[in-house]
């Protein structure tokens, strides 16, 4: 099974959700999360592989821009067209208050301190919204249990 966390970027709250899901993150300390705020990693549009849990479920993140629910619809349509079901691919949108500001800061030019601003603002917002992301992951885990 594949699980894909989608949000407006694939390297902020979706990445945190993926790490919570994999059991790598229990408190809002994002310093050691590989790829956190690395917007270059997110540019291509390809899903980013994060890891695999103890049930061999592969976890990915994907940045889809501001219209996350529209992208969810497209990806679910694609999954259905290709003949797969939710048992093979689960698409989970992750949304937090302040995500537009995160997106804005992640676009700030590097030469004007963009990388620093991005890390500072994202960390500040996501620390305060950590419980929202945790809740999203818990809800998903509950749904996955029901599915099996």
């Amino acid at each position: 099974m594949n699980i894909m966390f989608i949000s407006n970027t694939g390297v902020h709250h979706a990445l945190i959700a993926a790490n919570i899901f994999l059991g790598r993150l229990h408190n809002p300390n994002f310093r050691y999360i590989k790829g956190f705020c690395d917007v270059a990693h997110d540019k291509s549009g390809f899903p980013i592989y994060i890891g695999e849990d103890n049930q061999s479920r592969k976890v990915y993140t994907l940045g889809v821009g501001k219209d996350v629910l529209m992208a969810k619809k497209t990806l679910e349509d694609l999954r259905d067209i290709l003949g797969f079901t939710e048992r093979e691919l689960v698409i989970e949108p992750v949304s937090v208050p302040g995500e537009s500001l995160i997106k804005f800061c992640s676009r700030w030019p590097k030469i004007l301190g963009g990388a620093h601003l991005n890390a500072l603002v994202s960390t500040y917002i996501l620390r305060r919204q950590f419980h929202v992301i945790q809740k999203t992951v818990e809800d998903l885990q509950g749904r996955l249990k029901e599915m099996h």
């Binding site: 594949n2 540019k43 549009g45 899903p47 994907l62 619809k73 990806l75 694609l78 290709l82």
Partner: protein, 157 residues
């Protein structure tokens, strides 16, 4: 194989390309506005259609052809679709084609007036003129796409 033509609204350039692919429009001459309007989904979508992959038909090689409106996601959307298919081990089954590089200002303005503002009587003729201007570029794109699908068929067999 599944071929997905995508543009901003999924109502004009992607629909025209899909219609060309399926032989619903002639490739050797400009279509009339009536011929364009007779194409399913042409200038006939609403907000709920954004993000939906809509089936247009099967081509002569049994490839399924779809259209998709992806708003302002740009060419990243091709990678999003290809990357997700890759994840499922079905990369060779999907070909996503961005028709936005062939969209001109008349199509953009006409599409906005017709679909967004709802002034169909004003927007539709503009879209028609714009689509006719972009028509042979779309023919070229479709021919390249058809060659790509034929290449893949040969590789697969």
């Amino acid at each position: 194989m599944h071929i997905i033509y995508h543009c901003f609204g999924g109502a004009h350039s992607s629909v025209t390309a899909a219609a060309l692919h399926l032989g619903l429009l002639p490739k050797d001459r400009l279509p009339t506005l009536e011929e364009l309007m007779a194409v399913p989904y042409f200038d006939n979508t609403d907000n709920s259609d954004f993000g939906s992959i809509r089936f247009m038909g099967l081509d002569e090689y049994k490839n399924a052809v779809y259209v998709l409106g992806k708003k302002s996601l740009g060419d990243r959307f091709t990678n999003i679709i290809h990357g997700t298919a890759e994840m499922l081990g079905a990369r060779h089954q999907v070909l996503a084609v961005n028709t936005m590089p062939n969209v001109n200002w008349l199509m953009k303005i006409g599409g906005f007036i017709s679909r967004r503002i709802g002034m169909v009587f004003l927007g539709r003729p503009l879209v028609g003129v714009g689509t006719r201007k972009a028509f042979f570029a779309l023919v070229n794109l479709v021919e390249i796409t058809r060659l790509q699908t034929m290449d893949r068929r040969q590789v697969d067999s």
